[in-house]
């Protein structure tokens, strides 16, 4: 409900409402962008650009749909665009689908955050969206414009990989 009010106010050009919206959304947006890009400066640019786009393009938001997936689709695309710019040979599609180059070193990692960052991007990004913002599988599928079963599979594999890494004696997630 609060989002609806913010959207209405921002559409009307209410600067104070936009600032309130920023205060409420910036924390999770910064966390998400930092985790996706693993680069503070890039994350800063992505979050900044996202909020600017939201302000300028709020009219394109369909109020029949939930707001958060729309916001995070902009944020995620912006992170991926900046990552792509840093690595001109890769494409957004490849960022989401190619195995990570960090594969070889994965088994030596003991820190959970490093292990998350060492996952393939197509497993890592859905995990970040799930655990930072608490998005459902359906919402993650909407944000990343992927098939729901693809998201389920990637989340499962990502969690399994982390669990194997951190709890090598356990073969299954019994939770």
């Amino acid at each position: 409900m609060q989002q609806e009010k913010w959207v209405r106010k921002i559409r009307a050009g209410d600067q104070a409402a936009f600032r309130e919206f920023y205060e409420a959304y910036a924390g999770a947006a910064i966390r998400t962008a930092c985790a996706i890009t693993n680069n503070r400066e890039m994350a800063k640019d992505a979050v900044q650009e996202t909020f600017i786009r939201v302000y300028r393009q709020i009219d394109s938001f369909n109020q029949e749909l939930p707001f958060d997936p729309w916001f995070y689709r902009i944020l995620t695309n912006e992170c991926l665009r900046l990552l792509k710019r840093e690595s001109p040979l890769s494409t957004i599609e490849s960022v989401l689908n190619d195995p990570s180059l960090a594969e070889e070193s994965f088994d030596q990692l003991t820190d959970l955050y490093d292990s998350i960052q060492a996952l393939d991007d197509h497993n890592r990004i859905p995990l970040i969206l799930k655990y930072i913002k608490g998005f459902s599988e359906k919402e993650i599928a909407d944000i990343l414009e992927l098939n729901l079963n693809t998201v389920k599979s990637r989340l499962f594999k990502g969690r399994m990989r982390l669990r194997e890494q951190l709890e090598p004696t356990r073969k299954e997630d019994k939770s």
Binding site: C34, I52, L112
Partner: protein, 244 residues
């Protein structure tokens, strides 16, 4: 959420905490330059809190209800009418959260509301009831509470104007009164002292009591808690029902 899930969530939060604190203000400054530079920004003046003086005639009118047989019968019928507890799904910070809520009766059985008793408690007062955190928050946090007060002889249309004038003292940028249908149907006032994580937020709902008076529900929290305590209060308030 399993322990493993919680561990991943906690790890991501902890490892990005410093980023949030160090980047948040810088990013806003850049956004502000890009979108609003050159626009005149209203300065917010810190003003002394002047306690609002509202009419409290309700206490006198209804104080003896519980002393009477009809009053006791009313309580019994309320307990028969509503489930003592139920589970609701509330969306908190984007995540659906199943929460068990418990039936609470307002003072003199004037209303009912379901309270998330795992986090909040309801304190019944002489003139008003207050729902607040079970454990007091550390001093650095502004007040977090939701007060429910009845004004049996003040109609909402007049009362909301009176409250608006009072609030403008502490919330100079108080928004214009709006009519809302959620979480309750009535008038809504919204104010914010300053745009910082601990800026005080106030939401006041003024609704009809079904007769010649009003209920005034005042939510107090702080900006960073808008999607936490603010949202939880709204979910609880959706269950508010007046007992006639």
């Amino acid at each position: 959420m399993s322990k493993f899930d919680e561990r991943i969530k906690r790890e991501l939060e902890e490892k990005t905490d410093a980023d949030v604190h160090e980047l948040k203000e810088d990013i806003w400054n850049e956004i502000n330059k890009e979108l609003f530079e050159g626009r005149r920004t209203k300065m917010k003046h810190k003003k002394r809190w002047v306690p609002a003086v509202f009419i409290a005639a309700a206490a006198l009118v209804l104080a003896f209800t519980l002393q009477t047989d009809p009053g006791l019968a009313l309580i019994k019928s309320i307990k028969d009418m509503f489930a003592p507890e139920k589970e609701i799904i509330q969306s908190i910070e984007g995540q659906d959260e199943p929460t068990e809520v418990h039936l609470n009766e307002g003072r003199n059985s004037e209303y009912i509301i379901y309270v998330d008793e795992s986090r909040y408690k309801m304190i019944k007062g002489e003139d008003a009831d207050v729902i607040t955190t079970i454990e007091p928050l550390p001093e650095k946090y502004p007040e977090v509470s939701m007060e429910i007060r009845q004004y049996p002889s003040n109609k909402p249309e007049a009362l909301v104007k009176e409250i608006e004038e009072e609030l403008k003292i502490d919330f100079p940028d108080l928004r214009d009164v709006e009519t809302v249908s959620e979480p309750v149907e009535g008038f809504w006032l919204h104010g914010l002292t300053e745009v910082t994580w601990d800026g005080k937020v106030i939401d006041v709902y003024v609704i009809s009591n079904g007769k010649d008076g009003s209920f005034v529900i005042t939510k107090k929290y702080f900006l960073e808690a808008a999607e936490g305590h603010g949202a939880r209060f709204s979910h609880m308030l959706k269950s508010f029902e007046i007992i006639e």
